[in-house]
Symmetry: C2
Subunit: 256 residues, 2 copies
């Protein structure tokens, strides 16, 4: 569940901050607490490093010690809760369209935005089956693989495509041609690109002047994205993306 794209900077200060964020990312609604042993295993860092990092994060209020070598996120996060919600949460109307799309397709629906050279889900409604696509809201994922990524590539400058090609070791021509063909088609379908056995259909959410702001995606196990169903999913996703484009994303749009 560790997001595949976290900054791996050369200098030490970048690395410390990345490590701290990586550690904090181990906590989510499904894992509100973590044992020291788990944290060491999941970060693959030396125990002494983990203990020092936990001490620093605790003194900053970002980690709370629950005793018996168990930890959770600290109250300092409350500082950003209201702000992050007011800046990043999509409108109730948009969420209703997403829920309707889940009702139609049965699969998990996300809205992804581009942040630098990654993509991040800012809103999610989970699918209805036990085997379903699970990505973490707010976590960075690849911008060079997956249906939502291909939709977002359509909004990238050529300079950004170059940087991405270099960073992810993907041919620049491939990214360019994917960006333009997906922009033309108005949707993307991928199978096993980001992860084996995972498929997705995505379509652009656009501004009044036609700029690609975000990608709406439906994703799940490849076994359920059969040829006959994918046609229906493409129709449903593109229609829902059009609805959301009309409604607008809300305050988030100021960032996109």
């Amino acid at each position: 569940m560790t997001p595949p794209h976290t900054a791996a900077g050369g200098d030490g200060s970048v690395r410390s901050v990345s490590r701290a964020v990586e550690l904090l990312s181990l906590f989510d609604v499904d894992h509100p607490t973590r044992s020291l042993r788990d944290i060491v295993r999941l970060t693959a860092l030396p125990k002494t490093t983990v203990v020092r990092l936990l001490g620093t994060l605790e003194s900053l209020g970002l980690v709370a010690d629950r005793g018996e070598f168990t930890y959770s996120v600290g109250a300092a996060f409350l500082r950003w809760v209201t702000l992050a919600q007011s800046l990043w949460e999509v409108s109730a109307d948009t969420r209703r369209v997403m829920t309707r799309l889940v009702d139609d397709c049965g699969e998990t629906v996300n809205i992804y935005i581009r942040q630098d050279l990654s993509r991040t889900s800012i809103a999610q409604v989970e699918g209805k089956t036990t085997v379903r696509s699970v990505v973490a809201v707010g976590a960075p994922y690849s911008l060079s693989a997956g249906a939502a990524a291909k939709v977002l590539l359509g909004a990238c400058s050529d300079a950004a495509l170059r940087q991405l090609a270099e960073r992810d070791g993907v041919p620049l021509d491939t990214l360019r041609s994917e960006a333009s063909s997906v922009r033309e088609a108005g949707y993307a379908v991928t199978h096993g690109e980001r992860e084996m056995g995972a498929s997705a259909v995505a379509a652009p959410i656009v501004s009044a002047d036609g700029r690609i702001l975000a990608a709406l995606s439906v994703s799940g196990p490849t076994s359920r994205f059969t040829a006959d169903r994918v046609g229906r999913y493409v129709d449903a996703v593109t229609a829902a993306a059009r609805d959301i484009s009309e409604i607008g994303l809300g305050t988030v749009e100021a960032f996109l």
Copy 2:
């Protein structure tokens, strides 16, 4: 508005993480965006350091570049929003008691908990006047000054009191005697202790077995905490703290 207590560790990695958190703390509901110039001025860091730090935080999704050298918090915070709320937010009933206390006294009401050697407000209802006490929810404040601090000292081990005395340069005997007398009195009143011109009245929120879990405080300008009013505030705060102790703080209690 920068909280007075952030970890100032000796080694570089601790410092990088502290600096990153300090920078992120500049963003709040009143300052959803900050210019590069403001960030440099408020952190008092060299511009090159700030630019590098912003780059790192942006690549991690914690900062969003809004163009024209203006920044805000990034979508990565969404990852912890639901979790932090579910862990740290007080119950609706408790919030109602706090609102009633604001109605009674007109001043800002906070619930503080101890985190390590600091105290942090986990819930706030703001006062009704333009000149009012403003502290940031989630930010660390002094555990050796202010009425809420004195209430929380009553729950500190002697080892914690020793550490605090050493860190804040306060005589250990003073802390010990304050802790025991406030515990005996059942409330604390301070004037200008944490900040000149700021006064507060606080009382303990306790568990079923009498452990001090948190401090409920009313705070505002000293000019309004006159002798005749303070008596009334003490009655109101101790009564409200008893009500909250009966209701319970909710999931937060697991941490306290």
